[in-house]
Amino acid sequence: MKNDTDEILLTANKLRWEVGENFHDSILESIYKDASEISSKVVIQDGEKSKFDLDRFIDRIVTGKWTGFPIMFILLAVVFWITIVGANVPSGWIASLLVDTLHPLMKNFFNSIQIPWWITGVLIDGAYLAAAWVISVMLPPMAIFFPMFTLLEDFGYLPRVAFNMDNLYRRVGAHGKQALTMSMGFGCNAAGVIATRIIDSPRERLIAIITNNFSLCNGRWPTQILIATIFIGGTVPAYLAGLASAAAVVTIAILGVLFSLIVSWGLSRTVLKGEASAFSLELPPYRPPRLLQTLYTSLIDRTIFVLWRAVVFAVPAGVVIWLVANIQIGGLSLAEYFIHTVDPFALFIGLNGVIILAYIIAIPANEIVIPTVLMLTALSTKMAMGAGAGVMFELDSVSDTANILHAGGWTLLTGINLMLFSLLHNPCSTTIYTIYKETKNVKWTMLSTFIPIVMGLLICFFVTQIWRLFVA
């Protein structure tokens, strides 16, 4: 037996010299020869193909010079508009149930059975509140955004977007499908990173993963809108306020797209230069999407999946948030120590210690950054706001929020820098974990984490210095 197998391998090695390098090509050629023979026998074109081919007609329109871009922008705008407008109401419901109703109820219950206050603090004010917050802010927009995106996908439109956008992405060394993973990132970066699986070329996939964080995700839109309303909207006459703040937010989002292109370009020419690259893009036929199936699968596959990961990360972070605000050494909480230490540096680059601390401890989800900022500002200015140390809160009135921030020493510059920093900082821990899961590589995970944060600090620094030089 042993002799036989050795003999086989030996013969194989000898014969390999004879078959030469084109062997693989030849095999496929003969397979396809059989394939076309068989299919020519069994496939019958039933009568004349009708002159009007619906697929071709749609293709001509969605890839047309004059019609392609408008259709793409209108569709995306509609998706975003429905998401933002439609999510407000259910978000409010969930928040009023989980945060306004259940939270006090549970707190009272814990108090009534005489559980020590610090246990209640860690569990209810820390862990529970963080999870509740993430769910109420994250769930509704994702539950709206993902099914709509999936409908476009099932219909077959998204590959055409990749097809149209490929020229731009090719120039920066990326794949046209990155346009889609980026759009998905506007919903949620973790979902965007998972969506890069559709890119089958290793180098382009890595680029798409690393740059996904430059898409302003769902958790950051509310921050942008709130800060823009308070600081940008406040600089112009009241009747222009809405327009100005909206323009500011859109500018930030577009800036994000620009950064993603620039970083893609840089990556494909430096660290990822040698990674394998093979472009392929099939344009599947259009198929009528099925509403119920889509709703179900996109809820299960994307929304719940991502939400679960976010909650898992939010719980320990909530505990940490509560602890740093409540553990006191010599009359000052850990949070205050940190804020005071970091303040000189943070103010130098146009931010403040509260913002830095909030971004560090609210790493699991961008959604809890603003509540954390408010809590920390109230804590460090000894303001009697919110529900006590370590309890995140948000205010219904924008002007009350503005008052707190102004009291915390915020200026227009701080507002602008926060908007920039919110775009350019490390991905949330859910996304970082997802990146690690998808790449199985520490180096790429670190790179995706630190590129944006370094960029964010640098840009805040330069903006601040230039601002101080020319404006103030």
């Binding site: 013969t11 062997f23 396809y32 059989d34 193909k49 996908e153 998204l158």
Partner: protein, 263 residues
């Protein structure tokens, strides 16, 4: 509802009562079924139809990543079904293709279902012919016949079946059409009721037939029971390390299908 009940009682072709979707309960299975196919052919829909699971299916090439598994019960037999990643080929060296190839070769499924897009049959046959080089037991699921008829394309499934030597079942998995027939054929092939005579590449491979034949002879001599010696020869000539190792260790000899191992 009423109508459906009537159908159940009278018309076996529409009778899905035989099928019990077991979801992910894969205990004590009698047969292993592999599900292969090009990306974007509705493979996951077929999988969901059989198992009752809800894998995401998108109009995108390459949606299923990795391997999904499920189970169903049909005619008192438990089938474990493995959804392989959608690939265009089994010969290239991407991870997905290696997973699919390894499972069909080394996992020795009792039946391999190959899902193809009826509107793009010629392109899909590439994978079909490659699978048939490896395994003797396969069922072709000619999916998306509804789309094909929308494009006025007809596929002669009986002629196709004769050409490929395996059962061919026209389906429209999204509407659940043809699933019953598919189940019956899976069952027949698994139990040996239907003996496949799979198509093997007929056209001569340019310039190299002699080398392939010479090696093929040697392999069939050493492993007379092996059904796919020619394919092994092709893989050896391409320098495929996994196959080389399997030949060296003799593992390749144990890869012939085991008859009804449930009994």
């Amino acid at each position: 509802m009423n109508l459906e009940n009537n159908n159940c009682a009278t018309c076996p072709a529409h009778n899905l009562a035989n099928l019990v979707k077991l979801g992910i309960d894969m205990s004590n299975f009698d047969y292993v079924v592999a599900l292969a196919g090009n990306p974007n052919t509705g493979k996951s829909t077929v999988f969901n139809n059989l198992t009752g699971l809800k894998q995401h299916t998108g109009n995108w090439p390459g949606k299923t990543v990795g391997r999904a598994e499920g189970a169903f019960l049909y005619a008192d037999k438990r089938f474990k079904i493995v959804d392989l990643p959608g690939t265009y080929s089994l010969l290239s060296t991407s991870d997905d293709e290696e997973i699919a190839r390894d499972f069909i070769l080394f996992g020795q499924p009792d039946v391999t279902i190959i899902v193809v897009d009826a509107t793009r049959l010629e392109r899909n046959l590439n994978l079909v012919l490659q699978v048939l080089e490896i395994t003797d037991r396969a069922v072709l699921c000619l999916n998306l016949i509804d789309e094909a008829s929308r494009h006025k394309i007809k596929v002669d499934d009986r002629l196709l079946s004769r050409n490929l030597g395996i059962p061919v079942v026209p389906t429209a998995a999204r509407q659940g059409i043809g699933i019953q027939e598919l189940l019956k054929n899976i069952h027949d092939v698994a139990t040996g009721k239907f003996i496949c005579k799979p198509h093997r590449l007929s056209s001569e491979i340019k310039n190299v037939s002699r080398a392939v034949d010479e090696l093929n002879k040697k392999i069939s001599f050493a492993f007379p029971d092996l059904p796919n010696t020619r394919w092994i020869a092709l893989r050896l000539l391409e320098g495929d390390q996994k196959v080389i190792d399997a030949v060296r260790s003799g593992e390749i000899g144990s890869l012939r299908p085991v008859e009804n191992f449930s009994e």
